[in-house]
Symmetry: C2
Subunit: 481 residues, 2 copies
């Protein structure tokens, strides 16, 4: 456990300045870079590879559940955006608008897509004819642009990468199920891939998506006690379909309107991974998203040629098994390398030197808890590494789960609510009267919002402690990113 107390001097300690710690990691770990386009970032190879791994996991899940990928135009004509009033009011203020094309003023403005509901609707109108065409379950991987005044790498930017699912269904029941099922897929992503739990629940009317009847969300709790909305799914009813004239003929040759959903997660998830798992030595990456899962560092390889040979053999074996492994044979010192790969959050480090060779052992050191194990070279190293990576995933998840569990605090009085919210103690779990007024009051007094109405909750009181009115729902209030 020697390394667990060592601090990386390149990175501001979390306790000292959490925001600076975060920015340090983004830049020093080469996840991103600022650009000449204000508010826009470059996803550098190490950061982009994390997104590629998340994408790969999700894309398989989407396809397994019957979704197909498509690609829609990146520009939306103004008339199309204007069709759904609530939706356009939600998005128009954050849009980038193209007014010139081919050196000429355009007759109609084109909006760089902030989301593609309107394009999907316009397309659905063209391709949906019969009940036999339903359900239609599409997904798109793309970038979207939303004009943001203050930006923060991965968490809030004028451009981000995401996926947006858009589906059409015959019945309300089926569409509602889709919105909930995709929320579950996101929950599974958290557990299996990102190694932390999300709180799943329904958004309040105030917080829901422009044009949706229901919005569900996955909320993640950050170490600074603030919540991060990490993804949403929406049930639209038939509102969009009616506005965009999407209809089909049923078995009786009667025109019907379908029910619709959309759902998305974005590169925000990278920000969540950084904050949830990172420590004062840098990134701590979950094995499934880590660009490099295992780094092998030969020690004093110049003293014994067999050291490098053995390291290469292990590298090949791991690589053949599909493990993302890196052998660092550069002339930097082992200490420097340890620091580098710890900062970069590589989940597992293997060390091997001449003495180890004599004793026929190697050392494996886990990044997340610095646990060091010596294992015999005669054992099946690939099997051990696979097992170790699984244990790391489980260990990281448990740690994050414990943090979350100890930071959901039932509040019974406004004093308690205030204490949790103003001291960033996590979620204030409160019996809420269900009114917009109470939400507004809490926002005004404590700069906190209703994050979600979590599923499957036991009521623990009859009175809303803020309004003193009859309580209706269990609600998580928190300050948020």
């Amino acid at each position: 456990m020697e390394n667990s107390i060592k601090k990386n001097s390149q990175i501001t300690p979390r306790e000292e300045n959490f925001a600076q710690w975060y920015t340090d990691i983004c830049l020093k770990c080469e996840l991103m870079s600022y650009t000449s386009t204000k508010g826009f970032i470059i996803y550098r190879p190490y950061g982009f590879a994390i997104w590629e791994n998340i994408k790969k996991y999700l894309d398989e899940e989407f396809k397994k559940t019957g979704h197909q990928n498509v690609y829609m135009p990146c520009l939306i004509p103004e008339h199309l955006l204007l069709k759904e009033k609530e939706h356009v009011e939600g998005f128009a203020p954050e849009c980038a608008v193209v007014t010139i094309g081919g050196k000429k003023e355009l007759e109609e403005k084109l909006y760089v897509r902030p989301t593609s509901e309107t394009l999907f609707c316009d397309h659905f109108k063209d391709i949906l004819h019969s009940y036999k065409d339903l359900p239609i379950k599409y997904n798109q991987w793309c970038s979207v642009v939303r004009w943001e005044k203050t930006t923060k790498p991965f968490l809030r930017g004028s451009e981000f990468l995401w996926q947006e699912g858009h589906t059409l269904h015959r019945t309300e029941v089926e569409a509602r199920e889709e919105a909930l099922n995709m929320l579950k897929v996101y929950g599974k992503l958290g557990k299996e891939c990102l190694c932390f739990p999300f709180s799943l629940g329904k958004k309040t009317d105030k917080e829901k998506f422009a044009g949706a009847l229901e919005t569900y969300s996955i909320e993640a709790l950050m170490p600074d006690g603030q919540a991060l909305q990490a993804g949403t799914t929406h049930y639209f009813g038939d509102g969009f379909a009616k506005h965009y004239d999407i209809k089909y003929l049923d078995e009786n040759n009667t025109l019907q309107v379908p029910f619709q959903t959309s759902w998305g997660v974005s590169t925000r998830l990278i920000g969540a991974v950084i904050m949830v798992h990172g420590d004062d030595n840098g990134l701590v990456l979950p094995p499934l998203v880590a660009p490099t899962q295992v780094v092998i560092i030969p020690i004093r390889a110049n003293q014994d040629k067999e050291v490098l040979k053995t390291c290469k053999k292990i590298e090949q074996k791991l690589s053949k098994k599909g493990i993302r492994v890196l052998l660092d044979n550069s002339d930097k010192t082992p200490g420097f390398k340890f620091n580098q790969y710890e900062m970069k959050g590589v989940p597992l480090r293997i060390e091997l030197g001449p003495k180890d060779l004599q004793n026929k052992v190697l050392s494996m050191i886990r990044r997340f808890d610095y646990l060091k194990k010596q294992v015999s070279l005669e054992e099946d190293i690939v099997k051990l590494v696979v097992k170790e990576l699984e244990e790391i995933s489980n260990g990281m998840y448990k740690k994050a789960e414990q943090f979350l569990d100890s930071h959901i605090i039932e509040v019974h009085t406004e004093e308690e609510l205030k204490d949790v919210l103003t001291n960033n103690k996590g979620y204030a779990k409160m019996m809420w009267d269900g009114t917009r007024e109470t939400e507004d009051l809490i926002k005004e007094r404590y700069q906190a919002t209703a994050r979600c109405l979590p599923f499957n909750q036991m009521k623990f009181g009859d009175i809303d402690p803020v309004s003193k009115k009859k309580a209706k729902y269990v609600c998580l209030f928190c300050r948020a990113y």
Copy 2:
């Protein structure tokens, strides 16, 4: 071979109207859809899946050759684009320009990226410090926007999907090698994945990329005798680097300027696949890019329950082996299904009925040459299908190669040149004097351009038949998309 003469009534015969045949395939096979954004298309699931398969193949090749993926902003500030004069003159006329953001007029115009050289240069300036950082080999998958007056699905559009590689090297030799090596990767893509040969060569000065010292291209010949530029690689020398102030310190602590390349292919390749392989019954897809590689059609399954059972077993076995297989058990007639999947270009069809079961056989019918084989159900079906798909790939390639070989015509007089070009007989392979004047003359007289100076060619004359001047290069002239 019964089906080879049957015509699909939904699709205009190629001989009748090639352009209409192409559009029919794009629409009827549900590869794309027109949109409310003029000049922009939707990549529908069947079309997008072809792109995903091409992308998968290339992405692996890029990573194998040491390239890393990144993502750059979709908008470029005007000052950045203006830095390289030749480049901006090449692109400014085709740009879409954002002038409004967040409801306010912007102080500086932002260009929707038509290509990202300028952004990469700006980033390279920030991240390159030492000779130890070189080479830097990046690639980006994204969409680009170029304002086009006339558009055609996949071939020319205001937005297309592509990859753009951008690399920095210490020496001119290494950078030139990179530009040529990536051209070879594209050549390999043609042979192994798209099943047709490209002509590889160098572009003339007139035809090269704005800002490049050398441009190489892969040219594909279409059945209508016109050429299609399907991808390019560029050697930039140190011109961009100097304009964008990219420098590094060498071993002697001296500032040096690196040498640069870029290279790209786009969804144009889908258009090439459609035209090269398609026939009057529709698409003919190469196995590696086909969204569905094998379709299983049960015949009279209601007469014998074992029919469907056996089909399902085969489906499972193929699917387990990673083959993209579809079992169509819908209530449409077999004839209707045959037509549908032929139109959609599924490389291999398996048929199985009660009679086949009795005889313990099934039929496999290849799309590209309609060859039908009966094979015993006791054989290893997976192995047979894998072999069949390989044979289809090889057969399709050979067919395309024969077409190309018989349509590269050596011309020794202007009469012969005229005959080839005005009668769309393919490439006119001509001894060219290397002057812009001759290129302009040929363009003016025959609406044809120099496609490339193909590699490894034997000279076959001393005089340019158009200018009557001394011939310098073997050049392929052709009308082009």
